[in-house]
């Protein structure tokens, strides 16, 4: 047990740091990192255009001035992807289940699921946002909001549900058929077998790739700006247009990184943990 924990810790460390055993290796790694980045910084800072770039991108005063406003606008991004993520988690599972329905009678549903995923994985996200954002309100559907926010979120949900449905499907197919046989042999229906036996196991396995898709979604929330809503990217564009200085873009990038990097690290950590469990023979 303690041996497993030992190797587990070692593995986790090695995810980022490579094989760092012993003080000497660590010293070498630190030294080479310092030298590498020192060279990069020196090259950039000594380039001919650096003073101009510095003025255009790294204006401290502009950064502190624009940051609060952009951060406030970023809350709209957070709202966009939070709402979208919840809807996607449910909708994508529905699509994945449709695609796995048994029997010839239910073929139309399977077909529908296949066509849907092919369609929305095939069209660039930006086009879906444009088509829905400018097209759908023109239909003047009663009872449906006409705000660009609504249609922007809808577009992201449509596109990402297609991806996430495929992730779910891979998870469902990775559960061994003997699990289904065991559940069905006890008299559980297909639906209950899925709900209590297959999907709980499948979801556990696909959490890392799922989070990976959500990193993509969080970034793509900026695309909604193209049909109107003033989120972080749009706000920074406005600031840039007012000052002819690109520093606000950097502030926006920083805000996105603050959310996506922790998520990326969490994903890596979950993958590493799963690998440890598998190599330890655990199936939980």
């Amino acid at each position: 047990m303690s041996v497993d924990a030992e190797t587990g810790r070692a593995n986790r460390r090695s995810r980022i740091l490579g094989d760092l055993q012993g003080g000497r290796n660590i010293a070498v790694a630190v030294a080479s990192t310092v030298v590498f980045f020192a060279v990069v910084v020196l090259v950039v800072v000594n380039s001919a255009g650096w003073p101009e770039v510095r003025k255009a991108f790294f204006d401290r005063q502009l950064f502190t001035d624009s940051f609060p406003e952009i951060a406030r606008a970023f809350l709209l991004n957070v709202r966009i992807f939070c709402i979208a993520e919840v809807v996607i988690l449910v909708a994508a599972l529905g699509i994945a289940v449709l695609r796995g329905l048994p029997g010839p009678v239910l073929f139309p549903f399977r077909l529908l699921a296949v066509v849907y995923t092919d369609l929305f994985r095939g069209i660039p996200t930006i086009l879906v946002i444009y088509i829905l954002g400018f097209g759908a309100p023109a239909l003047q559907l009663s009872g449906v909001p006409n705000s660009p926010f609504f249609w922007g979120v809808t577009a992201l949900v449509l596109v990402y549900s297609a991806y996430v449905a495929e992730v779910y499907r891979a998870g469902i197919e990775s559960v061994h058929p003997s699990q289904e046989a065991a559940a069905r042999s006890l008299g559980l229906s297909h639906a209950k077998t899925l709900r209590f036996v297959i999907i709980p196991q499948a979801v556990r396995r696909v959490i890392p790739p799922l989070l990976n898709d959500f990193i993509g979604l969080q970034k793509d929330s900026a695309l909604v700006a193209l049909i109107g809503p003033i989120e972080a990217f749009r706000q920074s564009q406005i600031d840039v247009a007012a000052t002819f200085n690109y520093t606000p873009y950097l502030a926006t990038a920083l805000l996105f990184l603050l959310l996506t990097i922790p998520l990326a690290r969490l994903t890596d950590w979950l993958v590493a943990r799963d690998r440890r469990r598998q190599s330890a023979g655990g199936a939980r």
Partner: protein, 250 residues
């Protein structure tokens, strides 16, 4: 034996996978409280026969009766399966559930029993087979023998009319085989109707009321164990038993 007396009756059961005919007209009667062991080489159709009775595989031709009621055609398979327990070679426990939840899942979700009632019944069964202290463990924390005993309890929790055991000791380390066979022995003594596919010949000899020798998808020969094991009529049965004896399994 009339249809009414048999717990299970198979008439001319046929099953093919693609172009391979695995069952080629199987007739079998199993009386209530009877223990029937199916023996035969790998690929002779033992497992397929059991899976057909549980309706995990649909038969191509023939009829299957459970307590006189035809089950192979036009019946809700889920209802039939609730009355026919099956235990697999590879245990197939649900890895994301505790032992107790493995056992109570089908009684609560398929039979609609209340959780408290299902858990009380499950605990009684787990206690009977010495697994009560494992109720909160996950399957991967149990030995193979314990896992297989839980799988048997899981099937028993549905209070089946009939139990099908598909080479339940084949995946176990030799020292774990006995604990599982003891459980089956106990079930036999308690009067459970069972059809058991097995390679454990001495177990079949001691426990079975009747032994059926399957060969190439047919029941070639059947009778009381002492007859089959000591005076087999068919040359194929003799050959099979000679190989088993040579392998030191009888």
């Amino acid at each position: 034996m009339s249809t009414n007396e048999a717990a299970l009756r198979l008439e001319g059961v046929r099953k093919s996978f693609g172009s391979v005919e695995v069952l080629r007209g199987v007739d079998l009667d199993v009386g209530e409280h009877e223990v029937v062991c199916l023996i035969g080489a790998s690929g002779s159709g033992k497992s397929t026969l059991l899976r057909c009775v549980n309706l995990l595989e649909r038969i191509d031709a023939g009829r299957i009766f459970l307590l006189g009621e035809e089950i192979a055609h036009g019946v809700d398979a889920n209802k039939v399966r609730r009355r026919v327990g099956i235990v697999f070679q590879a245990f197939n426990l649900f890895p994301h559930m505790t032992v107790l939840r493995n056992v109570t899942l089908a009684p609560t979700k398929a039979l609609g029993k209340h959780r408290a009632e299902a858990e009380a019944e499950a605990m009684a069964l787990l206690e009977r087979f010495g697994l009560a202290d494992k109720r909160h463990e996950y399957p991967d924390r149990l030995s193979g023998g314990q896992q297989q005993r839980v799988a048997i309890v899981r099937a028993l929790a549905m209070r089946p009319d009939l139990m099908l055991l598909d080479e339940v000791t084949s995946a176990l380390d030799p020292e774990l085989v006995a604990e599982v066979l003891n459980v089956i022995q106990e079930l036999a003594e308690a009067g459970m109707t069972m059809v058991i596919a097995t390679h454990e010949m001495s177990f079949a000899r001691d426990t079975a009321d009747r032994v059926c020798f399957l060969d190439a998808g047919r029941i070639l020969e059947q009778g009381p164990p002492e007859e089959i094991f000591t005076r087999p009529r068919e040359p194929r049965t003799q050959q099979f038993l000679e190989r088993i004896i040579a392998a030191g399994r009888l």
